[in-house]
Subunit: 178 residues, 2 copies
C-alpha cells in the first residue's frame, strides 16, 4: 500500500464505521501486533481515540510503559492475518514474521506501521484514568497515513467468534452532521 | 420488528461491528432520540458500553440526570430517520413524531425502545468519571432485545458527512477469539 500523509481532521471518518484494527506496539525493540475491535472516537481534532487493551494481552504492558502505538486498519485481504494475530500471543511469537506482515517506520512514534494495511494512525497515550478499571486507554492520533487509492476500503467488522461482516456499498444522504 | 429477549453475554456481537445507533432518553416524560457512532464495548458480561454524548446535544442532560437510555440499532431502511435525528435537536422537536418512529415500552428503564429498530439495549449509567473531559459515559446493558429473524442485519456505518457504509456479507474464519 502506498500510503500518504492524511489530514488529522479527517481521521474520525476512518474509525467511525467500526473496522477491526491491528494495533502495533514496540517494547525494548520487540514489535508486537494485536487485533482489536473495542475502540471509539472521543474527539474530532486533535483526534482522540479510546480503546480497550485487555491486561490479558501482551500489548497491555508495552502500551502502558511506552505510551505509544499505531492503529492500523486492514482490509478483507488480510482476514487470515487478523484472526492469526487475535489467536496468538506476542509473548511467544514474532507476529510480523509469523503472519508475513511488513513493519514500516513511523514518523512520530517507535512502533511500526503495518505496510499491508491501507491506513495507519500513529498514537500517543494521553489519559490512563480508566485503565485500571476497564483497560481503557485514551490515545491522541499525532500522524495519519492512508492509501489514497482506497476510496471504499473493504474493511472487516467483527461479529464474534471469527464471523466478520465485510464492508459493503456506501450510500450518501444529505446531512449537516460532521 | 418482533423483538425477543436476547442473552446479555451475546450483546458484544451486536456492537463490535460498529453500527450507527439511535439512543433514546426520557426526561420529565419527554422522549428524545439522538444519532450516535462513537461507542465501544468495554466489557463482555455484564455488558458495558462506553459512548460519547456531546454536551452540545439535548440528550446530554437527560442521560446525566436520569442515568438511563436505550441503544437502538437501525438497519438501512431507516437511513433517512438516522440522518433526520442527527440533523435536528430534541430541544425543539418530538423526533418520534417528526420521523414516524414508534416508542415501545422498555422493561427495566424509562426511555422507550424504538419499535422499528432490529435491536434495542436497555442501559443504566454506571460511571461518569470521563464525562466532564470527554462527554464519555459508561453504560451497563441490563436488558437486550433482538429480532431473531435478522441474521445478517444491514446496519449503517457512518463514514462522515452523510456517507454511510452498508453492512455487506459475513465471512467466517476458524477462531479462538470470543
Amino acid at each position: 500500500m502506498a500510503k500518504e500523509s492524511f489530514p488529522l481532521s479527517e481521521v474520525y471518518g476512518l474509525l467511525e464505521p467500526g473496522p477491526v484494527v491491528l494495533v502495533t506496539t514496540a517494547d525494548k525493540g520487540r514489535n508486537n501486533i494485536m487485533t482489536l475491535s473495542w475502540q471509539t472516537m472521543l474527539e474530532f481534532e486533535p483526534p482522540l481515540v479510546g480503546c480497550v487493551v485487555s491486561d490479558r494481552n501482551h500489548s497491555f504492558a508495552a502500551l502502558k510503559q511506552t505510551k505509544e502505538c499505531v492503529i492500523n486498519i486492514p482490509t478483507a485481504e488480510l482476514a487470515a492475518q487478523v484472526v492469526g494475530c487475535g489467536n496468538s500471543s506476542g509473548r511467544k511469537l514474532d507476529k510480523f514474521h509469523a503472519f508475513g506482515l511488513t513493519p514500516a517506520p513511523a514518523a512520530r512514534v517507535k512502533p511500526p506501521l503495518i505496510a499491508e494495511c491501507y491506513a495507519s494512525l500513529e498514537c500517543k497515550l494521553v489519559d490512563t484514568r480508566l485503565v485500571t478499571k476497564y483497560c481503557f486507554f485514551v490515545l491522541e492520533v499525532v500522524q495519519a497515513w492512508v492509501d489514497p487509492a482506497q476510496k471504499s476500503p473493504r474493511t472487516l467488522h467483527h461479529r464474534g467468534r471469527g464471523a466478520f461482516m465485510l464492508a459493503g456499498d456506501t450510500i450518501k444522504l444529505p446531512s449537516k452532521m460532521k
